[in-house]
């Protein structure tokens, strides 16, 4: 049994193929070994911090972190044993002991249930290893998007790494060391005064809900199940995939789609947080036209389009074709942009058209 490269290793006794450069963790994932981890995000460089993913490697004195150890031909790997499971349980008891709580609302973020799920899988709510708790929350940060509840932080640094490796903002880092480690901005300030762009990726990778989606959490009291609907972000032409979270007919939050081909889990502040307009009372749901008194009154689409067309043609007839200038929305997809060009160039006869991000 081998693929084209012919590389194989032994995973729990079974000979399996792998590709050069793969980690033991990646090979094990493909074979559904369900190795536990808390510091791993497959979009980020393997970090090797939580040590939950340790596996036994024949010939090695100690278990090795499977996320940071590259697969090599002939390796004999054990992903589950009494000793490994004991170490994993102790590690989970330790993270339980350092946090204020294990259970956080699912609305906190995409990965927010990871710790609670593992803690339950390993029955680690034992109360052992109690002692001082780590991390200090930042209720003083008034930003409306990102909850910084570091009392629940386990120092996996996924937030710091996603900010650097995925977003390239380098807005947050690690202050101090050891048990006193704290996620920080420069000089320990608030996010608004840092390089943070509020893209929310830190929230979505946080495995404990220490970083939470404040806008979504507003709706945690609604006692309805969360439904998720796959869609495309409406804000710009990139086409980021999102899962829109609803409770009943209310949009309660946006999750980036980790498998979105354009964004692979990334969003920007608008796509992540700016959905309130959907339910806003001022939102226009029908066209309006001005009546003879100049007052805006509801109209049908046909009436509104007729009126707009008449007005545009009147302007062209009276002032010439170059009296018009069109600005296309940056949110518009290519197809809509093309139609706009058609309208302006062929219909109105002018080349005066641009995009809102340049206009």
């Amino acid at each position: 049994m081998s693929d084209k490269s012919g590389l194989t290793l032994f995973l729990d006794g079974e000979e399996v193929p792998f590709t050069r450069g793969e980690s033991i963790f990646q090979v094990s994932e493909r074979h559904e070994k369900e190795i536990p981890t808390l510091c791993y995000d497959d979009r980020l460089d393997a970090f090797g911090g939580c040590r939950l993913c340790v596996v036994e490697l024949e010939g090695a004195r100690n278990p090795v972190a499977s996320c940071t150890t590259k697969a090599e031909a002939g390796m004999r790997v054990t992903t589950r044993s009494g000793k490994l499971e004991m170490h994993r349980r102790v590690l989970l008891e330790l993270v339980v002991s350092e946090n204020r709580e294990v259970d956080v609302d699912e609305l906190s973020g995409y990965a927010s249930q990871e710790m609670a799920t593992l803690v339950d899988r390993y029955e680690a709510r034992t109360g052992r290893f109690e002692g001082r708790q780590s991390g200090a929350s930042r209720p003083d940060d008034p930003n409306p998007f990102i909850l910084r509840d570091y009392d629940n932080c386990i120092s996996c640094y996924r937030c710091v790494r996603v900010c650097a490796e995925q977003e390239g903002d380098y807005a947050i880092s690690i202050m101090g060391r050891g048990f006193d480690t704290q996620i920080t901005t420069e000089f320990g300030g608030i996010l608004k005064e840092s390089a943070c762009t509020f893209c929310g990726q830190c929230i979505q990778t946080c495995p404990t809900g220490a970083l939470g989606d404040i806008k979504a959490l507003r709706h945690k009291e609604i006692e309805l199940p969360i439904e998720k609907t796959r869609s495309i972000c409406i804000y710009c032409g990139v086409g980021c995939s999102v899962d829109i979270m609803t409770k009943g007919d209310k949009i309660v939050g946006i999750l980036p789609a980790m498998d979105g081909p354009a964004n692979e889990g990334a969003l920007c502040v608008k796509g992540q947080f700016a959905f309130d307009f959907v339910h806003h009372p001022d939102r226009l749901k029908t066209p309006f036209v001005r009546d003879d008194q100049g007052e805006l009154v509801p109209a049908t689409w046909d009436d509104a389009l007729d009126k707009a067309a008449a007005g545009l043609m009147a302007a062209v007839n009276e002032h010439g074709r170059h009296s018009l200038y069109a600005i296309a929305s940056g949110r518009a997809p290519n197809e809509a942009g093309f139609m706009m060009q058609k309208l302006v160039r062929a219909g109105l006869g002018t080349s005066y058209i641009d995009n809102c991000s340049r206009a």
């Binding site: 340790v54 002991s97 052992r128 202050m175 048990f179």
Partner: protein, 554 residues
């Protein structure tokens, strides 16, 4: 004249590994690292400000309040605590504690700016030279200490008069790198910083690795409590260390080397800088070593207070200006070290052993050990001992011989209750288990290790639970925070040894300890988290009654 931000930054930009020296220059110029300074450095070296801030906070000694650089720091290491460090600290307003600062053979050290003072009371502090190692018993042949008591050795001329730099000259003019490595290999020399990796093999791995330029690093971040041997070597025989580094450069083909010195040795920093420039002026280091056309540049870099930077991959990250977490291995530094170049990281003592080995030969060095053990090891002996100090012993020497015959036995004629091994990292040996010889096989058979060779002696008057608590407090203070078992484990062990938290019932207490010890040893990402549990394991093994009393609160 005070130099401007722009001057400091533009000068730093042209250097290798510029961040640490630049931070030190601002720290000393302003008396602390101000926000303005960090903003300027961030912009100048193009390091994200949040990263730079986080990295600065990692180091114990970088002050971020005005006046902080000059404020007194009192050593509160295990031996200094025996000498009353806590009381001294309390008596000095504005002073803060610092972990063992590597002067356990002296009164309590107090660091003020770039000056070290020692004494037992605030009004009786004085500046002293580093103690010279006590004389070895007659008939002992030493390697790195052979000339250390010759006061002329500090100067370049004195060093050369006693055979200094002859090995380097020989190596660059009449030896191939392969021949040089073969000698080191045959000598049996192994890493004297504690890991014990065969030095010849390491040098060969770097020599054979692809890519470059290659790099040599001398690890002088002597942070292990109870270890002060490297400072003695650097202070009394600095050129021997530089010559060893240069020989490693010749062996590996490296044109550059870094000496990473711990913050707490400011006088050594000055002395080494002078020695390097003297050797460069004499054409011994620099761009034309002994007229051979070979370049060997030694760069001195000062740490800023972080025990973990003695771990070689943390050290490399620190040099590169990154957050000093240990790296994941493999790849190892011999192929991916400083800036991903093949790098030989060696301890001061290891490198200082190279010149005599090259001059006198592999067989000579091997023969210095006892029985099948090759060579010597410097032991830093401190605590309740009549003559604390550094002793270069033949490997295989019985511990009892060192303690009783070489160092005058326990202080005040008290009975020795326990000794530590590898500074603190090897935990305690007590009772019959102190009947070991000073070599790795003998000590490892007792579940400990010789490591960097720090041995602290505790007599029967000492509270071993309290000693263990101080030790674990040190490990918790120095845990970097990268991996869970060490970050949380050292904290939980400390709390339990302090009596602050944990089960009040003995068997549950012992169960928690056993689980923590096992998981930390098996899963920690580096040696710190693997070694820290040796303290608790050995405490429980040798002092069960004391532990029982501690847990029951009596």
């Amino acid at each position: 004249m005070t130099r401007t931000n722009e001057e400091l930054i533009s000068q730093a930009k042209g250097q290798e590994a510029p961040l640490l020296p630049l931070l030190h220059q601002f720290h000393e110029r302003d008396g602390y690292l101000s926000e303005e300074a960090l903003r300027a450095i961030s912009a100048g070296l193009r390091i994200p400000l949040a990263d730079l801030f986080g990295t600065v906070t990692f180091y114990h000694h970088f002050a971020r309040e005005p006046g902080g650089q000059a404020a007194a720091r009192v050593c509160t290491g295990p031996v200094c605590k025996m000498h009353g460090a806590d009381a001294l600290l309390t008596s000095m307003p504005g002073a803060t504690g610092m972990p063992c600062s590597g002067r356990c053979d002296e009164p309590i050290p107090v660091l003020r700016g770039n000056q070290t003072w020692v004494g037992l009371a605030a009004d009786a502090l004085e500046r002293r030279d580093t103690p010279v190692p006590p004389a070895a018993p007659a008939g002992t042949t030493e390697c790195v200490f052979a000339h250390i008591r010759d006061e002329n050795r500090k100067s370049l001329s004195g060093y050369r008069r006693s055979g200094g730099y002859a090995a380097l000259e020989k190596a660059v003019t009449s030896m191939t790198a392969d021949e040089l490595i073969a000698v080191v290999d045959a000598s049996g020399l192994a890493g004297r910083g504690g890991a014990g990796f065969p030095t010849g093999r390491k040098l060969r791995a770097v020599q054979e690795a692809g890519g470059g330029p290659k790099t040599v690093v001398c690890n002088a971040d002597e942070g292990e409590p109870g270890c002060f041997k490297d400072r003695a070597l650097m202070d009394h025989d600095p050129h021997a260390v530089l010559e060893g580094m240069a020989l490693a450069c010749v062996a590996t083909g490296a044109p550059r080397a870094f000496l990473y010195l711990r913050y707490e040795y400011p006088e050594t920093d000055t002395l080494l800088a002078r020695a390097i420039s003297q050797a460069e002026e004499a054409g011994i280091l620099g761009d034309d070593v002994f007229g051979s056309g070979r370049t060997i540049r030694i760069h001195l870099r000062r740490g800023a207070g972080a025990y973990i930077c003695g771990e070689e991959t943390s050290l490399l990250n620190s040099l590169e200006g990154k957050h000093p977490f240990p790296r994941n291995r493999p790849p190892y530094p011999v192929t991916h070290g400083y800036e991903d170049t093949p790098t030989a990281v060696n301890n001061v003592e290891t490198l200082a052993s190279l010149p005599p080995i090259v001059l006198h030969g592999a067989d000579w060095y091997r023969s210095l050990g006892m029985g099948e053990h090759a060579g010597t090891k410097v032991i830093s002996l401190s605590g309740d001992i009549a003559r604390p100090g550094n002793y270069e012993v033949p490997l295989g020497l019985p511990l009892a011989t060192l303690i009783d015959d070489w160092a005058g036995g326990p202080r005040n004629g008290n009975k020795i209750q326990a000794v530590t091994m590898a500074g603190l990292s090897g935990g305690f040996l007590a009772g019959d288990d102190m009947d070991v010889t000073l070599d790795e096989p003998s000590i490892r058979a007792k579940g400990s290790f010789l490591g960097a060779g720090g041995i602290m002696v505790f007599d029967e008057t000492r509270d071993m639970v309290a000693v263990a608590h101080q030790a674990m407090e040190f490990f918790a203070h120095e845990s970097c925070g990268k991996c869970f078992p060490c970050r949380i484990g050292t904290q939980r062990l400390t709390e339990r040894l302090a009596g602050d938290a944990g089960p009040g019932e003995l068997s549950s207490w012992l169960d928690e300890m056993a689980d923590l010890n096992a998981t930390m040893k098996a899963t920690s990402a580096c040696g710190l988290g693997m070694a820290a549990p040796l303290i608790t394991e050995s405490l429980v093994r040798y002092f069960p009654e004391e532990v029982r009393a501690h847990v029951s609160g009596s």
